[in-house]
């Protein structure tokens, strides 16, 4: 009995050390970040901004200027309430003092300049697949936007999700940071669409069901599921859901918000359409090309659930 306690204690210490190491926030390596501080392309940066849907979450609520990124929007989920941060060029309240490398680490590794994990409500699991040149260009564009003062409030999360370090474990389980590689058997448009949908557009972040830890159920990617904010059901956008649509129908919906039946998409998709409408038509067609290639997958079964406030 006397021997047991010291051993047990050592075991716990070892477990904590291992857990601490596993959950450490990992940054981009020097070779991964090559070129991130080169002068970028402003026009492409604006395209990345629109394709990435940054304004949909980060724009200051209650006003219509999509370039004012003061944050503050509350996202109410089963894990608690996330408050979207200020990413305007304000030096103290926003990200005005950030380097392009710090932005790349945030978007591709989910790590802040202070070396802390971000919660995956910020869709870095998708942005991780982005091309680093696009992120540098995005930084060039973000630096042209107005500074908005006012730091957003902190998140209000339930234990254990309130412990940021646990996100490290989430990353081990669910973050695949491999870049998207062109598939040579597919068309150029398909590859572009794959990149726009999976990396920048992060379509799968909403249009896929998640498990109880908030990880995407990979076998049902794009097959829709319950809205994490409890406001309805996110549609299946595999062939199961949009099989009857033409590619032009998909591209038109992204530009106008109207489905082939002239229904008008609602909720956060209405805002996504504002981002997508700002892209070149070829990019909307590319996304359509990719989405229409997704095989039919059944999503989770719908259970009646009253909408939350």
């Amino acid at each position: 009995m006397k021997r047991f306690f010291p051993d047990f204690f050592l075991l716990i210490v070892a477990a904590v050390v291992v857990a601490w190491w596993i959950t450490r926030p990992a940054m981009l390596t020097a070779s991964e970040a090559v070129g991130v501080e080169r002068p970028g392309d402003l026009a492409n940066g604006e395209l990345v901004f629109n394709a990435g849907g940054c304004a949909s979450c980060h724009m200051t609520p209650g006003q219509t200027d999509r370039r004012r990124l003061g944050g503050g929007l509350a996202l109410k989920t089963d894990f608690g309430t996330f408050i979207v941060p200020n990413i305007s060029t304000h030096k103290a309240d926003g990200i005005g003092a950030w380097t392009a490398l710090e932005l790349a680490n945030a978007m591709q590794r989910g790590v802040s300049p202070k070396g802390e994990h971000y919660y995956p409500a910020f869709p870095y699991a998708a942005y991780a697949h982005a091309n680093i040149d696009d992120l540098r260009d995005l930084m060039v564009y973000l630096r042209t936007l107005p500074a908005v003062s006012g730091k957003a409030a902190g998140h209000d999360l339930q234990f254990p999700f309130s412990m940021r370090r646990f996100v490290g474990l989430w990353k081990v389980l669910f973050l695949d940071a491999a870049p998207i590689v062109d598939n040579p058997t597919q068309t150029e448009a398909w590859n572009r669409g794959h990149y726009l949908a999976d990396a920048l557009g992060h379509c799968g972040e909403c249009h896929s069901p998640r498990n109880f830890l908030g990880g995407i159920v990979q076998g049902q990617r794009y097959a829709g599921g319950p809205d994490p904010e409890g406001r309805g059901w996110v549609p299946n956008i595999t062939a199961k859901g949009i099989g009857s649509w033409s590619k032009a129908d998909v591209a038109d919906m992204l530009a106008t918000g109207f489905t082939p039946d002239f229904d008008s998409v609602g909720s956060s998709m209405a805002d996504v359409v504002k981002n997508m409408a700002a892209l070149p038509k070829a990019d909307r067609l590319a996304i359509a090309e990719y989405l229409k290639s997704l095989p039919a997958v059944d999503g989770p079964t719908k259970l009646p659930k009253p909408p939350k406030k």
Binding site: V234, G266, S268
Partner: protein
């Protein structure tokens, strides 16, 4: 005892008729919204160039829009927030003034378009602005829907 049962039965009947009236109003507004989509379909196809421009059809659709905009706000009474697979979000009732103002603007835009649309060119410049209201309202007031 018998009176008690009678009262309970009457109450239950009353409650269920209230509930079914609410289900009816939800069904009614769902039909009305479907009518909007149906009215928009032909002009939508004309905008995309999938269908030849037809002034009379466009005018008929705009008339449906204007009439719907008048009727719709009356179909969201208090008590019809949930049930019958409604996709209406609670914000409709917490932000009623804005919800009604948006319907009023849509109705006014549809009426103005009835006089503004005279040919294909005026149709193409006017119609998209009228139906922008759909997304503008669905963004805040309608749940995600498969």
């Amino acid at each position: 005892m018998i009176r008690g049962i009678f009262i309970a039965a009457a109450l239950a009947a009353g409650l269920s008729s209230v509930a079914s009236a609410q289900n009816n109003v939800i069904g009614e507004r769902q039909q009305l919204m479907k009518g909007l989509a149906q009215a928009g379909r032909a002009p939508g196809a004309m905008l995309k160039g999938e269908q030849a421009f037809d002034l009379a059809a466009v005018q008929a659709s705009l008339k449906t829009f204007a009439e719907t905009a008048k009727k719709a706000p009356t179909l969201f009474p208090v008590g019809s927030e949930t049930g019958n697979e409604t996709a209406a979000l609670p914000k409709i009732w917490t932000d009623k003034a804005d919800f009604e103002a948006k319907w009023a603007k849509f109705g006014a835009d549809a009426e103005a378009a009835q006089s503004a649309v005279k040919d294909e060119a005026s149709f193409k410049s006017t119609f998209p602005n009228v139906v922008r209201a759909c997304g503008g309202c669905h963004e805040g007031y309608r749940a995600k829907k498969n």
